[in-house]
């Protein structure tokens, strides 16, 4: 009897920790949880920023952790989630969050490490919703008074083909119109097989951004519709047809360049086609920044405000301001621009063009404080002069580089 009790006790001692590890925690028990519903193009941002915020510190070194608890969905669905009457995240939804250094050290963690999951206590409206394009591409009219919109980094979109079997290097506005608006009947070689045209469903920013740029409304697109970017990547990689073509967020493509090839795009009225980057192999998004590559959207970050216009959740606004490149108080303990650059987005401070509607004409843009030198130093080689506080012959010393303003 005593022996049996001992065996039970040992078994319990082994089983209990195992069960505790296997069960998802309640998201509400994580440190300072902020709930987000974002586009799947923003998943890499969630992973890297989520990691940094788990171990965020105050300027005095005290911990100031924030846990990004997120799910991904289409931009239009995300807008609907936070615009009244709101569409709460279902209580049964498995939410994701990223390991802190205590969970998994830097020597073990990479951005491809599977995220952790947690459970909701109840259905809830996200603290932050994200659209990877202008909200007006999804909904008519001005945003409701209860929702505050903040423009974040710029997101580019590409048309990609299988690198190993496609000889194509560019597509023109007119060709894209016929390929995706007419399908097989468009007779644009080699893109005549609609089963090899991999597109996205109607609520997705990737489809809507391209739709606005080539003049083919979303519902009229020909091709196979996929719910997620990984499915488009998978279909392109698996295809054996030189006529395969798909649409992706540039940062998704950037993560799979060995197997996929982005096509240069020639916009209407443009003399030549351009890649998002200076060349097919570069990662500098220079053509996005200066207007030569036209297929991009701002990311829009939404949070709820009270009747006085103040954020209902100040921590959510803190996260949004970080993403938008604003100065936050208290300062974060990591360089935000490094994260934005690493996930293939372009910070507003590095942009030199802007637009006000999806696919609309570009206009010159000058940010209040340029970060072009810093951004280029992260994604390429900066040609800007290095400096200390006062040594710039022209411009302003910022982050150790002479920015033009």
């Amino acid at each position: 009897m005593t022996r049996l009790a001992l065996l039970i006790a040992i078994a319990a001692a082994i089983a209990v920790p195992h069960r505790a590890q296997a069960a998802d925690p309640a998201c509400s028990t994580l440190p300072n949880p902020v709930y987000l519903q974002v586009g799947d193009t923003q998943q890499n941002l969630m992973i890297r920023l989520g990691r940094a915020l788990r171990d965020n510190k105050l300027p005095n070194g005290d911990p100031n952790p924030i846990t990004l608890v997120f799910i991904t969905s289409g931009s239009c669905s995300n807008i609907a989630a936070i615009y009244p009457p709101t569409v709460p995240i279902k209580v049964t939804t498995t939410m994701k969050y990223i390991q802190s250094k205590a969970d998994l050290g830097d020597d073990m963690w990479t951005p491809t490490t599977p995220s952790l999951t947690c459970t909701l206590d109840a259905a809830r409206v996200p603290d932050i919703a994200n659209s990877a394009l202008f909200n007006s591409a999804c909904v008519d009219g001005a945003p409701p008074a209860t929702v505050h919109l903040t423009q974040g980094p710029t997101q580019a979109y590409v048309m990609a083909v299988p690198r190993a079997i496609s000889t194509q290097t560019a597509i023109t506005f007119e060709e894209a119109y016929f390929v995706f608006g007419f399908g097989t009947a468009g007779m644009i070689m080699p893109w005549i097989d609609e089963s090899q045209m991999y597109i996205r469903t109607l609520t997705k920013s990737t489809l809507l951004a391209w739709a606005a740029n080539i003049g083919v409304p979303g519902p009229r697109w020909k091709g196979q519709k996929f719910d997620g970017s990984p499915m488009v990547v998978g279909a392109l990689e698996a295809s054996t047809s030189p006529g395969a073509i798909g649409i992706l967020g540039a940062e998704v493509y950037d993560g799979d360049r060995t197997k996929l090839k982005a096509l240069a795009f020639r916009a209407k009225g443009q003399y030549a086609a351009y890649y998002p980057d200076t060349s097919e192999s570069a990662r500098d998004k220079k053509n996005v920044r200066d207007g030569h590559y036209t297929v991009w959207s701002p990311t829009i970050w939404m949070d709820t405000v009270d009747a006085g216009g103040l954020p209902v959740n100040p921590t959510a606004r803190y996260v949004i301001d970080l993403i938008a490149g604003k100065t936050v108080t208290p300062a974060q303990s990591f360089p935000m621009i490094d994260i934005v650059a690493a996930v293939g987005l372009v910070p507003i401070c590095a942009m030199r063009v802007n637009r006000t509607i999806e696919g609309g004409e570009l206009t010159p843009f000058s940010p209040p404080e340029s970060c072009t030198c810093k951004y280029e130093s992260l994604v390429d080689t900066s040609s800007c002069a290095k400096c200390d506080a006062t040594s710039c012959a022209t411009g302003v010393c910022r982050n150790g580089l002479c920015e033009d303003h």
């Binding site: 007419f182 007779m187 009229r220 003399y271 086609a273 890649y275 060349s279 220079k286 207007g291 010159p364």
Partner: protein
């Protein structure tokens, strides 16, 4: 006489097509870039949309001579087929 008029008019039409739409823009002389067509001009001080997308750049340019079969004879796009 008629043929001669055409020879005079055609270069003028083409020249106008290469010019700006507002009449006050700075347009550079054609520059040879990436072995592109001879009319591949670029703009050094881009202000308008057309100038921005055709601004001078050191970025790789890909020239594509494409005329989709369904393009109208005047170069415009036909309406999309009915859903």
């Amino acid at each position: 006489m008629m043929l001669r008029s055409m020879f005079i008019a055609l270069p003028l039409v083409l020249a106008a097509a290469c010019g700006d739409s507002t009449g006050n823009q700075t347009k550079d002389a054609a520059v040879p870039i990436d072995a592109g067509p001879s009319d591949a001009s670029c703009f050094t001080d881009p202000r308008t949309y057309n100038e921005l997308i055709n601004a001078c750049t050191t970025a790789v340019k890909v020239y594509k001579d494409s005329r989709p079969p369904l393009l109208k004879t005047d170069g415009t796009l036909p309406d999309l087929p009915p859903p």
